[in-house]
């Protein structure tokens, strides 16, 4: 069974508090913030590896990412994947989810392999739109389900459970299918030393705009139907009046304030 997992390197969410906006250019200053593999994506890679262990086949990692984040892609490779590719080109810069998913679609097609399963994480830690998995499936005309767990494959069908607000829906979907995997559905495995060395020996394939034969109007900033305007840092400051004293005194004051704010207690 051939599985491809789409991953994204993102700025480490643990370090978001270090982000600043340059007051002159209004751009985000990202220096000093390390890049990691999007946490949700590790779950997707784990799901793929487990399915490979059951059914045999190949797991391929794909990312539309800048070259400097190669090490993060290599991490996904070191979890146990067989191959990795990065779609990387100056033309891809500034892409929104529409053109990102288009580019990923072209990359998957260019690999020339029929992938039974395309797995992704549910959303990226930075953009958090959750758009790309569904949009990629639509470009490929693959059936899809997002936020799934309990993936099983049998006789050319995948069964999954999709989480919705009111419970879980069970789907049975004819392969090939794209699935975004719920973050806690699988526990990403630890990386072994052997796999680090193995991954270090592999070449990560670089796919350029030319290799992919993309329509230049569909990629990067040019291909993005949404455009970004200003970045705004919200001013949410409030008075911060101090309540001091022993816990009992603090508790009393809190109840007073709550009553004054219209709460019955």
């Amino acid at each position: 069974m051939n599985i491809i997992v789409c991953v994204k390197p993102v700025p480490d969410p643990e370090k978001y508090h270090l982000l600043k906006i340059d007051t002159k250019t209004k751009r985000l200053i990202r220096e000093g913030i390390p890049t990691i593999l999007n946490p949700c994506d590790r779950t997707a890679v784990e799901a793929a590896l487990q399915l490979k262990e059951t059914h045999g086949g190949k797991v391929v990692i794909l990312s539309m990412a800048p070259l400097f984040s190669q090490d993060r892609i290599r991490e996904a490779l070191a979890m146990g994947a067989d191959e990795a590719y990065i779609a990387c080109d100056a033309l891809f810069a500034g892409a929104d989810t529409f053109s990102t998913s288009y580019t990923l679609m072209k990359a998957i097609e260019a690999l020339g392999v029929r992938f039974d399963l395309i797995l992704t994480g549910t959303e990226s830690a930075d953009g958090a739109t959750a758009n790309v998995p569904t949009q990629l499936a639509e470009w490929l005309s693959y059936p899809h389900a997002t936020g799934v767990s309990d993936i099983e494959v049998r006789d050319g069908y995948a069964t999954v459970r999709k989480k919705i607000e009111q419970g879980r829906i069970g789907y049975r979907i004819k392969l090939p299918v794209l699935l975004s995997v719920e973050k806690n559905a699988y526990r990403p495995r630890l990386i072994s030393a052997m796999n680090v060395i193995g991954a270090g020996k592999k070449t990560i394939g670089i796919l350029t705009a030319e290799t992919l034969g993309v329509d230049e109007c569909r990629v990067g900033l040019k291909g993005s139907p949404t455009r970004a305007g200003e970045l705004i840092q919200l001013d949410l400051r409030r008075a911060g009046r101090e309540i001091s004293g022993e816990p009992e005194e603090i508790a009393r004051r809190i109840v007073d304030i709550a009553k004054k704010s219209g709460v019955n207690c």
């Binding site: 991490e75 070191a78 270090g200």
Partner: protein, 383 residues
């Protein structure tokens, strides 16, 4: 002269650190408090390649070197020096086997040891002395095709756990009447061979240290590791390079812990209305912790790289071990003082760092022994 780790080494360190964050850090304090050894982690560490990282692939290892081995120990010791002790003692046995065993012995035992399916150890110390390796009282007598061993070993780590123990015993005398030692591989359960009392240590808790008793232990001729009579050289080299290197790595882990914990505490602890990190005396402590850590790290990995390049690194490891253990003890005390009353509360690791660092000093040769080794080398090379 490149002071940077390679890309692979950086990735390896991260993989080891992820393992430690998940499986070691949350339980380290508990292992220390209850003095329990997490034997159950061994197969997982084997699978992740931590145990056999320096063993060639043909024998089930990862095929890397001692730099990588020490990176793993440093990462583990950052949180649990006791577990690191357990791991490297196991690796002592593996190293002795790897560098001196026959092809048959290596093929038979190393894969199991790399996988963490069997535990190993090296037993040299006796009541007659640790530094005085040659003054062993444990005897080995050849009777036809069997060796018979009698004696007692003490302060042996992994004493109660080792499936395969490498034990030194006096097998004869040289022409000057000095003891000749041989290293014997003894399997757990061999009649007459077994652990004696278990010691309760001040530090490096979570590793098991105790006695080994040998009472007419009969083992086949093939149990000899290396050549008969060559045991002293093998033991000295293994301890000198692998053992001391590991103690140094453990202390570099402790040193890094001291830097990280003191920075964290200094930034969070508010006294006189501001974090104590703003106070100069605290800054001096932090600077000194940093100096100790950086120096310890450099000495360690310089020695490891030298060994990986195939050169002798005995003096280098001696320097790294001496400096590392002493500096870690200093830094741990400094960190406890920086933290005030919190430093002596068990919820914080500083107390454990100090106990672990002090306990490291006497393992793998005391600081006095190290100074003798360093002096010997210095008098030669700087003459």
């Amino acid at each position: 002269m490149d002071f940077n780790f390679t890309e692979d080494q950086v990735m390896l360190r991260k993989a080891f650190a992820d393992f430690v964050a998940q499986e070691v850090a949350p339980k380290a304090a508990e292992w220390d408090a209850s003095d329990t050894c997490p034997v159950e982690l061994f197969p997982m560490m084997g699978e992740l390649g931590i145990l056999g990282v320096f063993v060639p692939e043909t024998y089930g290892g990862v095929g890397l070197g001692h730099v990588e081995r020490l990176i793993a120990l440093e990462e583990i010791a950052r949180h649990s020096a006791g577990l690191a002790m357990f791991v490297f003692t196991h690796q002592l046995g593996m190293a002795a086997l790897l560098e001196n065993g026959t092809e048959d012995q290596k093929k038979r035992y190393l894969p199991l040891l790399c996988a963490g399916e069997k535990i190993s150890g090296l037993a040299t110390t006796e009541p007659t002395g640790g530094s005085d390796l040659l003054g062993a009282n444990t005897t080995a007598v050849l009777e036809e095709d069997h060796w018979v061993l009698n004696g007692r070993k003490c302060f042996i780590t992994n004493s109660h756990l080792a499936d395969l123990a490498m034990v030194t015993a006096k097998s004869g005398e040289d022409e000057k009447g000095r003891n000749l030692l041989t290293i014997y591989l003894i399997e757990k359960g061999t009649e007459g061979f077994g652990p004696g009392r278990k010691e309760h240590k001040m530090g490096l808790r979570g590793s098991v240290t105790g006695e080994l008793v040998l009472n007419n232990v009969r083992i086949p001729k093939e149990s000899v590791i290396g050549a008969v009579g060559k045991g002293y050289g093998i033991a000295a080299k293994t301890i000198g390079e692998v053992g001391r290197a590991s103690m140094a790595a453990i202390c570099v882990g402790i040193l890094r812990g001291c830097v990280e914990e003191s920075v964290k505490f200094a930034n969070e602890r508010i006294v006189y209305g501001k974090p104590i990190a703003k106070l100069q005396p605290i800054q001096f402590h932090i600077a000194e912790n940093r100096l100790d850590y950086e120096a310890g790290k450099l000495l360690l990995y310089r020695a490891a790289k030298t060994k990986d390049e195939g050169k002798s690194a005995v003096a280098e490891f001696s320097m790294a071990k001496h400096f590392g253990t002493e500096a870690a003890s200093r830094a741990a005390k400094r960190t406890i003082e920086l933290m005030g009353a919190y430093g002596v509360i068990d919820e914080y690791p500083a107390g454990r760092f100090l106990r672990d660092a002090l306990t490291s000093i006497s393992s793998g040769g005391t600081s006095e022994i190290q100074r003798l080794i360093i002096a010997g080398d210095t008098l030669k090379t700087f003459a």
